[in-house]
């Protein structure tokens, strides 16, 4: 095995740690504890209490009202080692000893007893965090690309803007009772970030205005994933940064005023935009922005403070060294295989962003502690980001420290390969905790990952830019519509038996030119992995595109050039693979993952809307 020549002890930090952002408030924890008592005493109605609970980030657990999922907001995705350690302790004390990284840069603690939620909130406040407005009809966690600040293609670092916007809307009276939830996503560049599938998506750009280089954004409105998904529309060519706040405020105000408060199934802003018509909605926003600009008081405007969110520390320079990052196979040394799809060079010479491969976003308390200490020792910025791929990105790792960092992670089972490959399937929580879920998408994502890593598919460069994302119902928390191959769960009658089934979609993608996937066919849960492997095999046999995602895109358009040209051809080619024998012959094939009983589709009222 290739030996690294660099010392295994990381260099000493030569800067002060980043000051902790304060998002939580202690008095809110006491209010919560008291409300739970009143609710238990029958002095608050179910509806009243549910609204309050969701406003504070506690979501009801699957078919068991006595438990909650606590969604911890990580604004901009930025999290400190102290916060990670606190989440570890809280997950051990009050949850199940593991935490779950969501697809929107939240970290979720599941199966917390309702009576303990206030205790978890108390712990969060101690380290500056909050779950406030993580659920309910509010402005949800404001996302920011985990590459912001280190992306070679970005115009500037959008992180402080995302945090300033998050701070402005948190607890802001203007968005405490919206028609429905509201999501903002910041990108770093046109490739990274989920800007077309948010209510407001923002891509930083610099434009010459009156001879002056001016910061601003390309803003997309009215996108979103769900049972019916839309991609956002670009508001204007360029929105200068001094109009960022008024644009966001104007959009939220219009949604608040005109959004549908009657039909829960159609009250996200994307429906309002769709029903109003984009051109009309666009005019409304531009007009409202003028009104907002004229009527916003200085005091209000001052609560939006980008400068206060800026990281002004000067990080030391790093030196580039030669790394064994060429092609690998599954028999390559573990370190080299890991480097291949877990480390990405930053725009800062000599620094890397390193991804931690998790299974569908799950991480144990003891792993969180190892991760926290590794961040302290190896990240020059001393913080981490969580990503919509349900993992952690540790940035500012020196090239010369990568080997030692890998070794440290390996002590806690955190050095698995394939974080940025097709192997790292995304899976929402599914039937492990969600009321809406029909299938165990969570376990399926882990099974896909296990199989793909076992086969070494993470080492295949032609699969590298492809993704697999799985939701347990049509509601898209697993973001299946922006995956190369996506799946959402349902139930189908096959013969006389019910089977957990996934609708498979092809050709979704992220970024500014992102497209939504198109439904291909239904696949029984226990045939999903076989179907995926068969489709990859078809691609390999055909060799009519450079990469798998390009081939899939051509298939969706019916433009592939080999013997498999379109979706129908794929369906025919996999039909025998996805066939189930009769239930008598193979009862297991009709059970969902993680279950040894007959499958039934059981759901309860969702709480995505309060």
């Amino acid at each position: 095995m290739r030996k690294s020549k660099v010392a295994t002890v990381p260099q000493k930090k030569d800067y002060t740690p980043k000051p902790v952002s304060k998002w939580g408030k202690e008095d809110e924890t006491e209010v919560f504890a008291n409300r739970v008592k009143l609710y238990r005493q029958g002095k608050l109605s179910d509806d009243e209490f549910r609204r309050f609970r969701l406003q504070n980030g506690a979501y009801g657990s699957r078919l068991h009202a006595g438990y909650s999922m606590i969604r911890i907001k990580i604004p901009g995705g930025e999290i400190t080692p102290e916060q990670i350690e606190k989440i570890a302790s809280l997950s051990e004390a009050f949850s199940i000893g593991s935490a779950h990284v969501s697809t929107r840069q939240n970290i979720q603690l599941h199966w917390v007893q309702l009576e303990d939620v206030s205790e978890v909130m108390r712990g969060l406040v101690e380290v500056g965090m909050t779950s406030r407005e993580a659920c309910g009809n509010t402005v949800r966690n404001v996302m920011c690309s985990h590459f912001a600040g280190v992306c070679p293609d970005e115009a500037f670092d959008s992180t402080p803007y995302s945090k300033a916007i998050a701070r402005f809307f948190l607890r802001n009276p203007m968005c405490q009772n919206l028609p429905r939830k509201f999501k903002l996503n910041f990108a770093c560049c046109d490739k990274h970030g989920l800007v077309r599938v948010a209510d407001i998506g923002l891509v930083p750009m610099i434009k010459e205005v009156n001879g002056k280089q001016t910061r601003g954004f390309r803003i997309y409105l009215g996108g979103g994933l769900g049972a019916a998904s839309f991609t956002g529309h670009q508001l204007e060519d360029f929105t200068p940064e001094d109009q960022l706040l008024s644009t966001c405020m104007a959009t939220v105000r219009l949604f608040d005023r005109h959004g549908n408060r009657e039909n829960m199934a159609r009250n996200r802003m994307r429906y309002l935009v769709h029903e109003t018509g984009w051109e009309k909605f666009q005019k409304m926003v531009l007009k409202e922005r003028v009104v907002v600009g004229m009527t916003t008081s200085n005091a209000t405007a001052r609560t939006y403070d980008v400068q206060a969110e800026e990281d002004t520390r000067q990080l030391p320079n790093a030196k580039m060294i030669k790394l064994p990052m060429a092609s690998v196979t599954k028999d390559s040394p573990a370190y080299e295989r890991w480097l291949h799809a877990n480390a990405v060079p930053q725009k800062q010479e000599g620094y890397f962003t390193v991804f931690i491969t998790l299974g569908a976003g799950d991480i144990t308390a003891s792993q969180l502690r190892v991760l926290a200490s590794a961040i302290r020792d190896f990240s020059a910025e001393g913080t981490a980001r969580n990503t919509p791929q349900q993992n952690f990105a540790i940035r500012y790792v020196r090239a010369s420290d990568l080997r030692a960092f890998f070794d440290r992670l390996a002590t806690a089972g955190l050095a698995n390969p394939g974080a940025l490959s097709i192997a790292s399937a995304v899976g929402c929580s599914g039937t492990t905790s969600c009321n809406l879920a029909i299938t165990n998408s969570h376990r399926l994502a882990k099974e896909v990952q296990r199989k793909f890593l076992e086969l070494g598919l993470d080492t295949d460069d032609s699969l590298k830019n492809s993704t697999i994302k799985i939701s347990g119902c049509p509601n898209s928390c697993g973001q299946h519509e922006i995956a190369t191959v996506g799946f959402f769960g349902g139930a189908s009658r096959i013969g006389t038996a019910m089977s957990p089934t996934y609708t498979m979609l092809f050709g979704g993608s992220i970024g500014e030119n992102g497209e939504l996937g198109k439904a291909v066919t239904r696949v029984p849960a226990k045939r999903v992995i076989a179907a995926l492997l068969k489709i990859i095999e078809l691609y390999k046999t055909e060799k009519t595109a450079d990469s798998f995602d390009q081939w899939i895109a051509k298939i969706v358009r019916g433009q592939a050039t080999g013997s498999i040209k379109n979706v129908e051809d794929v369906k025919n080619a996999i039909s025998s693979t996805i066939q189930l024998p009769s239930q008598e012959e193979d009862p297991d094939a009709y059970q969902d993952y993680g279950s040894d009983v007959k499958f039934t589709a059981k759901t309860a009222r969702g709480e995505c809307a309060a």
């Binding site: 078919l63 000893g97 599941h110 205790e119 799950d362 993952y593």
Partner: protein, 271 residues
Amino acid sequence: MKQKSSEPANLPIVCDADTLRSLIRKKAVRVIDVRKAEDYQAGHIPTAVSLPLARLLSDDKPETVVCLLEEFGIAEKMPVVIYDDTFGALAARVAWTFQYVGHSNTALLETTFKQWKELGLETETKPRTYPKTKHPLMVRQEMYADAAYVEAAQSDQGKLIVDSRERLNFLTEHIPTARNIPYTMLGVDGNILRKAEDLKRMIENRGISPESEIITYCGSVGTLSGLAYYALKLAGYNNVKLYPKSFKEWKSLGKPKDEFKEATYWDLSAE
């Protein structure tokens, strides 16, 4: 601790390290190490005797336990401090047993042995024995619950059954009507139990009144539930009982269980 010099110290539920060290210096305490014999031999708190939990559990009839007290030279009023390396759960089971047979002046050490060492506090390797004493047998039935008692408590409004196992185990199956206070929430950062006020607030959050009678149980031998027993005591709940044979016996007796099968929650665990 204020006391007349001739009277033995009356210990609180949890004894802090400084108090124990001063009692050791005054030779006014019996320290019990409940870890495995080989761990004791490798190093223990000065003056401690070895009583591995397994030895106690091999025969925990009250008469036998009193013989153990006598073997360790523990007289009726002598302060006893017990420690382990298992977040206080093993120590709690032994402490409960001592108090149950009538040795009320028994306390848990606030830290585990590992933390004691990390604090740089003194240890020794010398095995200790003491001259035998006499100790009366005074069984405190009010501390104890058996399966029949638990069964009757299920339909008694004033009684509450507490399961102190981890959340996922509780969800999988538990004694019907039981409430879950997992042992994992009882300790904090180097202390086997949180501060009394914190424990009190957490238990009050659950709407449990201080007047309630509470019966704790866990998976098999009453260790996790022993710790919960003392947590409740520390929080000011005076009427607490331990069901030492716990869920293992309950199941072997074929008694009914509550199971939650509507979710695949085990798949969330990253273990």
